[in-house]
């Protein structure tokens, strides 16, 4: 099939950006969206033009590196990562817009590549359990109810891609932060740092230029890993609890 792509090109964070139109032919329905971009880039390189920069790595939906807004939707029209979005979901002859994540906390590095290190700093502010190496108690010393373990896992599945931030009209990182807070706070191992964790992470989130949450729910809709919107209310409860103590 053939597509017309309108791709956001931007040479650097301080350069002006804009859409450039490209025609891509011979697209197989089995290609992923990124493989389709690879094909475009191969032709650009042979023409001596600069290929489109985009982030990607594992190409199996788990590393969270790929991220672009396709026709206005984070990662595109399917509830998955861009590397797992296949061309069979597009119509022959269509025009498709491709843009970087847009959020104040994610400055554009180049073309479709953005800087998401703000998310790492949110984790560093409390998204861990302090457990020095070599001193851990026997794993079976603390049983964890299956329900708690399963619920913790559901939230731990976050891949840190930032689609929630990109989808949110406010550029909020509430779903990302909530996923980690809920994961760790649900486990008995996470209980001692429960209050400092939520305060630290919420404080870091605010300091990083992420917007506030107004419960629009776009984040959970865009999340490729299905992190539930209920995580945000759980985060709010945790935060309130930590301030009341």
């Amino acid at each position: 099939m053939n597509l017309t792509l309108r791709i956001w090109r931007q040479a650097g964070p301080d350069e002006p950006g804009g859409f450039t139109t490209y025609q891509v032919g011979e697209i197989s329905p089995d290609m992923s969206f990124l493989e389709m971009l690879d094909t475009l880039n191969e032709t650009l390189v042979l023409r001596g033009e600069e290929p489109v920069a985009f982030d990607h790595d594992c190409r199996e939906g788990i590393c969270g590196a790929c991220g672009m807004v396709i026709d206005g939707q984070a990662h595109g029209p399917q509830p998955t990562t861009t590397c797992q979005l296949h061309m069979r979901h597009f119509e022959d002859g269509a025009t498709v817009d491709v843009e970087p994540w847009r959020a104040a906390a994610f400055p554009v590095v180049k073309d479709l590549v953005v800087d998401r290190t703000a998310l790492d700093r949110v984790i560093g502010a409390g998204g861990y359990i302090t457990a020095p190496t070599g001193s851990a108690p026997e794993a079976h010393a603390t049983p964890v109810p299956k329900e708690a373990a399963d619920a913790a896992f559901e939230h731990a599945a976050c891949i840190g891609c930032g689609a929630c931030v990109a989808a949110c009209p406010n550029g909020s990182a509430m779903l990302f932060t909530a996923a980690k807070v809920v994961h760790l706070n649900l486990l008995p191992q996470g209980a001692p740092e429960r209050s400092s964790r939520v305060r630290g992470m919420v404080g870091a989130m605010d300091a990083e230029d992420f917007g506030g949450c107004t419960n629009t729910g776009e984040c959970a809709t865009a999340c490729p890993k299905g992190i539930p919107l209920s995580a945000i209310s759980a985060l709010n409860r945790e935060f309130l609890r930590s301030t009341l103590r």
Binding site: L46, C63, Q84, H86, V109, G124, A139, P145, A149, D150
Partner: protein
């Protein structure tokens, strides 16, 4: 360029630094003998860690926690994206929680046997001992392992093993273990113990005064090439499976760090030992950029079969039971679908070569869950493998609950890597290699769920005392970035980048990578012959020469330039590939994932030659395209006696 079809033989490796004595006591002995650095002095030492996967993140976090100043690098935008994140199935530990006869001794035994007797006993035993502590550590960090209703940890079984010792977090075990290590690392970054450089790629190693003293790295965003000096350097940069172009590795995983270290004096161990994973989604076309793994754990409940008749193109549902060949269950009745990876891979290739493969191009076999769904119910199957089924459907547009999956073997993990001694130190003093970047613990083959174990064992438990010992014994001499030994390395890196940009030829870096991958898969893949390897050894140097004449890299070196990154990596793949083929050529035995057509039993199984090849091959670099030097490390098996591996 002329191919190197020959090599010279150097002095054997006499000492691996493993303590003597009963194997159960060696690790304790080594830890006791290791010298310590006073806690107050540790902050005066800088350790560079390259890579942030399971090995690198756990090492960086642990060293910083002990008080060292850690400077860490990854080429990804965040340490959390290292490729360990993609490991699916699980991590082994000799906890014996099932009371099914497991023990440290049995895990050790299974791993040595599974490695086809080409791993070092001392290292493997240590790995089995530490496995128990790893689970404790990860649980304490909040890794959400699967649990039973009673609140205790759940386990499952994996290929090549008859006990249930594999701990898992749905099909995302690697992700959860890596996030645990990444979170520990993030805590150290926030606390100032680790200076983290994301989007920065190591391009060379600085050796001064005979010791590893730093690296030259390129900031992938600004293009700036900088030198970072330290008292010790740790490479945790993963494997080199991407030499094959199509593999299960992440697209950007590469061999540059280990290859540059090799060029600076670190021996390369067993480069031809590549693990082929039996359960990948088959290739769908030429556009394909990588292969996606389906966890081996699927073989617990999925049954593998092909039609009995060659050329049977009926849909699977139309093929009656009597006309199906469940070939693994037939050939290996006691292990069945859970035979080790090399056996399952070769068997799949064999039935496809007979013309009985399924799917487009006939390069596939069925992995069928119909019996499991009937026996366990869809909900149980979904709880065990739901996310894998979803992923399969997303890629192939087929529903594996209704139609059997199609799978085919693919390059997965490299057991070769930088040669290291018992302390994980390479032949360059002060340079350590951990996780997949070293060659040490897996032998010629790797059982499932053992790579995660090794990455974390190395990073959390083995490396820190080894680094302690090294720093305590070797006072650091001052070294300035302006020192000629340092400056010349930086200059070489800069020149090489300039040279790549200056070629302005007519072929893309990707086209060379693809061509190299094809040669490697055809001639140095699952089955290898003397003639094929000689063909590859003739073609690779010619391709390398063509690369430097015809490659084109648009743009400049002073900004984000992904084609430049790619070209630089492919240039190293083109050198490493030659060594892999030479290693494969000289080892005229079949062993683990390395199957030499000329060396097989009467039944067609892989035939080792212990008499001639019971050694690890450690190669010394002498120059691009020049015959390398082979140093043999004799392997002695005191505790697990080599036998023909049988899974019948």
């Amino acid at each position: 360029m002329t191919p190197y079809l020959d090599y010279t033989v150097g002095a054997p490796i006499a000492d691996t630094k493993a303590p003597a004595g009963p194997i159960e006591q060696r690790w304790d002995q080594r830890r006791f003998e290791a010298k310590l650095v006073n806690p107050a002095n540790r902050r005066r030492h800088t350790v560079i860690v390259v890579g942030t996967g399971l090995a690198g993140a756990s090492a960086g976090a642990t060293l910083a926690e002990q008080g060292y100043r850690v400077v860490q690098f990854c080429f990804q935008d965040s340490p959390r994206r290292a490729h360990s994140i993609a490991a699916q199935g699980g991590i082994n530990a000799a906890k014996n929680y099932r009371n099914d006869g497991d023990s440290v001794r049995r895990l050790f035994y299974d791993t040595v046997k599974g490695g086809d007797f080409r791993a070092r006993e001392s290292n493997v035993h240590r790995l089995a001992q530490i496995s128990v502590e790893i689970i404790d550590q990860c649980v304490a960090q909040g890794v959400p392992f699967a649990r039973e209703y009673g609140g205790l940890l759940d386990t499952r079984s994996f290929g090549g093993v008859q006990v249930q010792r594999t701990f898992y977090a749905r099909g995302q075990t690697g992700q959860q273990l890596l996030l645990g290590a990444y979170q520990a690392l993030s805590r150290q970054i926030a606390g100032g113990g680790v200076e983290m450089h994301p989007r920065t790629e190591m391009l060379d190693l600085v050796v001064a005064g005979g010791r590893a003293r730093g690296i030259v790295a390129r900031d992938l965003v600004t293009g700036e090439v900088t030198t970072h000096l330290a008292d010790a350097v740790v490479l945790a940069t993963g494997g080199y499976g991407n030499v094959f172009h199509l593999s299960t590795n992440a697209k950007n995983s590469n061999a540059t760090a280990v290859w540059r270290a090799h060029r600076r004096g670190a021996y390369f161990g067993n480069p031809c030992f590549t693990q082929i994973h039996p359960t990948c989604i088959p290739r769908s076309g030429d556009h394909q950029s990588k292969l996606t793994l389906m966890s081996e754990s699927l073989r617990n409940d999925g049954r593998i079969w092909v039609p009995k008749a060659a050329g049977d193109t009926r849909p699977p549902a139309d093929i009656p039971e009597a006309e199906r060949d469940y070939y693994l269950e037939r050939m290996y009745p006691s292990f069945g679908n859970l035979v080790p990876r090399d056996i399952a891979s070769r068997a799949a290739k064999a039935v496809c070569d007979e013309g009985r493969g399924v799917g487009p191009g006939g390069q596939g076999v069925y992995l069928d869950f119909a019996d499991a769904v009937a026996r366990l119910g869809r909900d149980t199957v979904s709880a065990r493998y739901g996310n894998l089924f979803e992923m399969y459907e997303r890629i192939t547009a087929e529903d594996p609950y209704r139609v059997p999956m199609r799978i085919y073997p693919a390059v997965h993990y490299t057991m070769g890597g930088l040669w290291v001694d018992y302390d994980l130190q390479t032949t360059v003093p002060g340079l350590f290699a951990i996780g997949e970047a070293n060659f040490s613990d897996h032998g010629a083959n790797r059982l499932g769920a053992s790579a995660l174990m090794q990455g974390l064992a190395d990073g959390y438990f083995v490396l820190p005392p080894a680094v302690n010992d090294y720093l305590a014994r070797h006072p650091v001499q001052p070294l300035e970035p302006q020192d000629p030994q340092v400056e010349s390395v930086r200059q070489e890196v800069t020149d090489r980048l300039a040279r790549l940009l200056a070629v302005r030829g007519d072929r893309t870096p990707e086209s060379f990578h693809r061509e190299l991958g094809r040669i490697m898969w055809d001639e140095c893949g699952m089955a290898r012959t003397d003639a094929g390897l000689r063909r590859a050894l003739a073609r690779i140097p010619a391709l390398r020469e063509e690369f430097w004449r015809r490659v084109t890299v648009p743009g400049s070196g002073d900004s984000l330039n992904q084609q430049l990154e790619k070209a630089n990596r492919v240039a190293d793949h083109l050198e490493l590939a030659e060594l892999m083929c030479l290693d494969a050529l000289h080892r005229t035995e079949s062993c683990g994932g390395h199957f030499r057509e000329e060396s097989r039993t009467e039944q067609g199984e892989a035939l080792r030659d212990d008499e001639a090849f019971s050694y690890a091959a450690a190669w010394e670099f002498t120059g691009t395209g020049r015959a390398p030097v082979l140093h043999r490390e004799q392997l002695d098996f005191e505790y697990v006696h080599p036998t023909q591996r049988s899974y019948a």
